[in-house]
């Protein structure tokens, strides 16, 4: 077990990161929060030493991803729609201060919903690249898949995402 200070600092620093990673996969808020807790439980039980903060963050994202995949196998959970997020006060408001902001908000809703329609293998690479800003090599290392697979998944995922967005 890690020390309480270590665990507390990890939760404070990476709570949002882990919850977002869970939101990529899981639709229900309760499922996401369970996955969130399990991720940090695994962190607490793991005595592995991290080289730096970036390493620790990448480990947490990977564990969160694995936890969510395990949950998806046992339950037909899906990515949360923006509507559901809004109900829980986590999503941006539908209407912004002006028309342009409102349009942006709608686009964001669209991408979140569209992401939920993609196969799970495309979701995390897209999220890691376009939100977290990781390179394909880093994503490959983080998800434990070949780099070429990451390129393929990104390319196909992006094409599918574009199709879903244009259809919507």
């Amino acid at each position: 077990m890690r020390s309480r200070e270590d665990i507390t600092s990890a939760v404070e620093a990476y709570a949002d990161t882990v919850l977002r990673a869970c939101a990529v996969y899981l639709r229900e808020r309760a499922d996401r929060e369970d996955a969130f807790q399990e991720t940090f439980l695994r962190y607490a039980r793991n005595d592995m030493a991290f080289e730096n903060e970036e390493h620790r963050k990448a480990w947490l994202i990977r564990v969160a991803s694995n936890v969510c995949k395990d949950r998806l196998k046992s339950a037909a959970a899906q990515v949360e729609s923006v509507d559901a997020m809004q109900e829980e006060g986590e999503a941006p408001q539908l209407m912004g201060d002006d028309g342009q902001e409102a349009q942006r908000v709608l686009e964001r809703q669209d991408v979140t919903r569209a992401l939920g329609q993609l196969d799970e293998r495309y979701r995390m690479p897209l999220y890691l690249k376009y939100y977290e800003g990781y390179t394909a090599a880093q994503i490959a290392e983080m998800l434990g898949i070949p780099e070429n697979t990451v390129y393929t998944n990104l390319s196909r995922g992006k094409r599918l995402l574009k199709e879903v967005l244009s259809d919507g």
């Binding site: 077990m1 309480r4 200070e5 665990i7 507390t8 939760v11 404070e12 620093a13 709570a15 949002d16 990161t17 882990v18 919850l19 977002r20 939101a23 808020r29 309760a30 929060e33 369970d34 969130f36 807790q37 940090f40 439980l41 607490a44 903060e53 970036e54 963050k57 923006v82 997020m85 986590e90 999503a91 941006p92 942006r104 686009e107 964001r108 809703q109 669209d110 991408v111 979140t112 897209l126 999220y127 690249k129 376009y130 939100y131 977290e132 800003g133 990781y134 390179t135 394909a136 994503i139 990451v150 390129y151 990104l154 390319s155 992006k158 995402l161 574009k162």
Partner: protein, 337 residues
């Protein structure tokens, strides 16, 4: 995103696949900014830390190393222990669910790891040991007797010859050279019969009289597959010898190549010296003298012969049990001298 490291939203993102335009990437990065709004609430953080620390304390208590003055978990000023209730849940419900969840987690922790591996290894050791013992212990015996010289093949449950022993030292030496040990009993039996014949040719062993083959063992009955197989092998061998003898002309010695199978389950499984079935053999076309002899033999041995042995023993057996090796001849065998 403020606390996250690495490039953020809106910053140039490396073109991973080098196919799409930067514009689309930028647009997607902008759209993915929706995740900015997903944030972990303080309640969630607090309940997570509470759950983790509760497990730590339980583990420490189980190990007997509980700290007298444990560090208090930060409460974030919102929740003082226990799981945070979801919508529509009371605090008690949430606490109950969290407790159940932690029980599951603890149960997983206590489960011995590699249990299946150990069970599999133990099963493998038991199987190998049992198999080794079963391989070494003879379950049945095939005894070949020719002119008071016995050869005993000890056969295990797998049908392999465990040992071969003879009361004739020279024959024993010849059998040792023949390397029948470890062979399947069918092949070993044929080899023993061949060695016996070779010895008979050499003249060191008695070269007259019949050969009997007996099968015995705790699990060998009259209708057992082993007795049946031994009968078949013996028959085949006898036929083969007859064909050889016919091809070579007259037999070199009376009784050579004549095999009289006698397989016994506890007492006797297959027994026979009859030759009446020779008439039905498609390969045999006995001459009138031979036919006369066969008829005589059939009459004389019909009482004791079984069909199997009768079919197999193409050669005619005299009343004294001696079998004329050249009695049954193939049509193309040519005139005899």
């Amino acid at each position: 995103m403020a606390e996250l490291e690495g490039p953020g939203v809106g910053e140039p993102v490396a073109d991973a696949e080098g196919v799409t335009t930067e514009g689309l990437d930028r647009e997607l990065a902008e759209l993915f900014g929706a995740f900015d709004d997903v944030r972990a609430s303080d309640e969630l953080k607090a309940s997570t830390l509470d759950a983790i620390f509760a497990e730590m304390e339980a583990q420490e208590a189980a190990e007997g190393t509980v700290d007298d003055d444990p560090v208090e978990a930060p409460s974030f000023g919102l929740v003082q222990g226990g799981a945070r209730p979801h919508e529509g849940e009371t605090d008690a419900d949430a606490a109950s669910k969290a407790s159940a969840r932690m029980e599951v987690v603890r149960g997983r922790e206590r489960r011995p790891r590699g249990l299946w591996l150990r069970v599999a290894a133990a099963a493998l050791v038991i199987t190998l040991t049992t198999g080794g013992v079963a391989y070494a212990i003879p379950a049945s015996h095939v005894t070949v007797t020719r002119d008071d010289v016995h050869v005993d093949l000890a056969v295990n449950v797998f049908g392999r010859t465990v040992s071969v022993t003879s009361d004739d030292d020279e024959l024993q030496a010849a059998l040792d050279e023949a390397l029948v040990r470890g062979e399947g009993y069918e092949r070993a039996l044929v080899r023993v019969l061949e060695v016996c014949d070779e010895r008979a040719d050499g003249g060191s062993a008695a070269n007259t009289g019949a050969v009997t083959v007996e099968v015995s063992g705790a699990f060998v009955g009259e209708d057992s597959a082993m007795a049946e197989t031994v009968g078949r092998v013996t028959d085949d061998y006898a036929q083969k010898k007859l064909r050889q003898t016919d091809a070579d002309g007259l037999p070199s010695s009376t009784g050579q190549g004549a095999t009289e199978p006698e397989a016994t389950g506890r007492e006797s499984a297959v027994r026979g010296t009859g030759a009446q079935s020779m008439e039905g053999q498609d390969a045999a076309a006995p001459s009138s003298d031979e036919r006369q002899f066969l008829e005589h033999d059939a009459t004389g041995s019909a009482d004791e012969g079984t069909e199997r042995a009768d079919e197999a023993l193409g050669s005619a057996a005299s009343e004294g049990g001696t079998i004329e090796g050249g009695a049954a001849s193939a049509p193309d065998a040519g005139p005899r001298g």
